[in-house]
């Protein structure tokens, strides 16, 4: 099935000016997300997940600069778009859910008004009807008694409710692409499940493409069709979820899966990943930024990174990928914990 991508990021590189010189935070990042598809960007902190989202949204920190690449959304390259073009697209075509709903919401405006603002600015809703539609939006994100809640300030609501409001704001103008940056970090697991259900359901209803950024591989595996694994500003593996879990080909992905507590039967079975992210300020960074931690390093790793498509739709940036395993075996060969 070939669907025209809703967003296609090609060769995106982002540099940050720091006191120690230029740091290439993203290096040649490419991926795409189709209409109605949910993909997950997964990686440890510092891997460049959020920077990717910020670059696409055009809200990079002033110290950061896109040095190469394109991000095409419906024929428009977001990275070379003028500020006024971007302002048209943001909110209407792409929306973002931020990590901490409490700090991302405006503390001195009622949540109903914050949703109404988006409706007026991006949703072509007449000013007079906006408050009423904002209440409807609150209802559709599952807030009970939305009429009363619309008049509440963010501090009067629980974290889960604030996140629902954020989702309401993001989806008010029915965007075609939603970027959710760790939408459930800091929420309880029970709330997390409900919020993720909500995002998934609304995405399906609106036919939205969703980019879901998380450090929780298990959550990404449960909620997305495709996973893009990032490490130190590189995309190291990009594969359908099932393939990635059963057949991780990049050594880093395999280690990440082995470190996820979800998959292990005992603590001893969990494997830690040796070393840490390389210092990106270094001038002598090897082409493969994982090679210094990698147990499978070979001489070829000193060459520029390959972007090999090992199986249809399974991209790996590695010279010495793990061999394909027989079908059915999981990454660890360990039995999965049964769901109660």
């Amino acid at each position: 099935m070939i669907v025209a991508p809703a967003l296609s990021v090609e060769g995106l590189s982002v540099d940050f000016r720091t006191r120690a010189g230029m740091v290439r935070a993203l290096d040649n990042v490419s991926f795409s997300v189709a209409k109605g598809e949910t993909i997950a960007l997964v990686g440890e902190s510092g891997s460049g997940k959020s920077v990717t989202a910020y670059a696409v949204m055009g809200i990079l920190d002033p110290a950061g600069r896109v040095s190469a690449g394109r991000a095409v959304l419906g024929g428009l390259d977001l990275l070379s778009a003028t500020p006024s073009q971007l302002a048209e697209v943001r909110g209407r075509e792409i929306a973002m859910i931020f990590q901490n709903p409490r700090t991302a919401l405006n503390p001195i405006r009622t949540v109903g008004r914050q949703i109404a603002d988006v409706l007026i600015r991006h949703g072509n809703v007449p000013r007079r009807e906006a408050p009423e539609q904002a209440v409807e939006m609150l209802r559709s994100v599952g807030i009970t008694d939305p009429g009363r809640r619309a008049k509440a300030y963010p501090f009067e609501m629980s974290g889960g409710m604030c996140q629902r409001v954020m989702i309401g704001i993001a989806l008010a103008a029915k965007p075609s692409l939603l970027i959710a940056d760790e939408p459930t970090t800091g929420l309880d697991v029970t709330t997390q499940a409900v919020i993720m259900d909500l995002v998934n359901d609304l995405a399906k209803e609106l036919g939205m493409a969703t980019i879901f950024i998380t450090h929780d591989l298990a959550l990404a595996g449960q909620r997305s069709a495709r996973i893009v694994v990032m490490h130190a500003g590189h995309v190291v593996e990009n594969a359908p979820t099932k393939d990635l879990y059963e057949q991780p080909r990049h050594p880093y992905t395999a280690e990440l899966i082995a470190a996820t507590p979800d998959s292990a039967a005992s603590l001893d079975e969990l494997a830690s990943i040796p070393g840490s992210l390389p210092d990106l300020r270094r001038t002598d960074l090897p082409p493969c930024r994982y090679s210094e931690r990698c147990p499978r390093k070979i001489a070829a790793c000193a060459q520029p990174l390959p972007h090999a498509e090992l199986d249809p739709g399974h991209m790996v940036a590695c010279w010495h990928p793990l061999p394909k395993r027989p079908k059915g075996a999981t990454a660890l060969g360990a039995p999965k914990v049964s769901a109660a």
């Binding site: 697991v189 993720m196 298990a218 595996g221 449960q222 292990a264 914990v337």
Partner: protein, 341 residues
């Protein structure tokens, strides 16, 4: 054998609100009886921790985990109930005085984010040395030796001891927090989400470190977390809290395999699993009941529970024992696995 920590009928209530600041002041000075509504943060909780045991405490935010833990570690005073550490009754000593008590060293705590809980003007060395100076009266060479030994055991390279918290990575800070707490060789280490802010790869190392330290020193752990997958791996026994009450307890593996209380069932169902279809799972809807002066006859979970019968709002279910497990639900029998019933 007496348990290491025996908590019985333990409660912590916080008075809230009142009509206004003025009438509150007036009431305070007129000496009238305090009749303010109260938040039942921890309500009549009893449990024991044996020597060398790792007990997990799970529950959603606002359920009273942290209040319970802070009262147990004597950072705040309880409203009612007793806490026995071995044979010593701790609840008789006000928390203010306990800071200088010889038994202070026996219960230590690792806080959630070591970046926030370590004094930013203390180097890693000072942070680890502080409890040793105060509680063990160590000085000079002996102090230095002890700090270096503990740091090494916690996997903190010695050159890092001169660094300030902001110069350390998340994993290293977590190590400082653990080293500081275990330096005085406590009997009970209370860990409040020690890995919440860490990446999975670092989390693994810290969890394995904790397990190894426990083996070496025979400490008991009370491990507070909302990450069930971690609790399952680290803990022998687990306590599930909901709105100030313990609703279920038992061996960790059993509780997660066959949760008996509807809240635990929802909790287990909410844990994301790789490649598993999230559709049709048990979901917890709505908000918890108000913890302010709750009706003592209504089950705390009533309203969010799928079941919610008339019996649930007529009588508060008591914590009943089934083999090694305890559950506070009228309908626990229906979920009992054949091995228990």
């Amino acid at each position: 054998m007496t348990a290491l920590l025996d908590v019985a009928e333990f409660s912590k209530l916080f008075p809230v609100g009142g009509p206004g600041a003025w009438s509150r002041l007036k009431r305070r000075f007129s000496g009238e009886a305090e009749n303010l509504p109260k938040v039942y943060a921890v309500d009549n909780v009893s449990f024991v921790i044996e020597k060398g045991e790792t007990v997990g405490l799970v529950g959603e935010s606002g359920c009273g985990k942290s209040t319970l833990v802070r009262a147990l570690t004597r950072l705040i005073d309880q409203s009612d109930g007793s806490v026995k550490l071995g044979t010593r009754e701790l609840s008789l000593t006000p928390s203010r005085e306990f800071a200088r008590d010889p038994d202070r060293a026996r219960i230590q705590m690792v806080f959630q984010d070591a970046g926030e809980s370590v004094n930013p003007r203390f180097t890693a060395f000072d942070a680890i040395a502080d409890p040793l100076r105060r509680l063990r009266n160590l000085q000079g060479k002996a102090l230095k030796e002890r700090v270096e030994l503990v740091a090494t055991q916690c996997g903190l390279p010695l050159p890092f001891l001169t660094r300030f918290p902001h110069q350390l990575s998340g994993g290293q800070r977590a190590r400082v927090g653990i080293a500081r707490a275990m330096a005085v060789q406590p009997d009970l280490l209370v860990l409040d989400e020690p890995t919440a802010a860490l990446d999975v790869s670092v989390q693994v190392v810290i969890l394995q470190l904790l397990q190894q330290l426990k083996k070496e020193y025979g400490m008991s752990y009370l491990f507070v977390s909302h990450e069930l997958s971690v609790v399952r791996l680290l803990c022998d026994r687990v306590l599930v809290m909901y709105l100030g009450k313990i609703v279920e307890s038992g061996p960790a593996a059993e509780v997660f395999e066959h949760p008996l209380h509807p809240y635990t069932q929802a909790l287990v169902a909410a844990v994301p699993r790789f490649g598993d279809n999230a559709n049709g799972r048990l979901r917890l809807m709505g908000e918890p009941r108000s913890p302010i002066d709750p009706d003592p006859n209504v089950c705390r979970f009533y309203g969010r529970c799928q079941r919610g019968t008339d019996a649930c709002k007529a009588t508060m279910p008591a914590l009943r024992q089934f083999g090694a497990r305890k559950v506070a639900c009228h309908f626990a029998e229906e979920f009992l696995p054949p091995s228990i019933s």
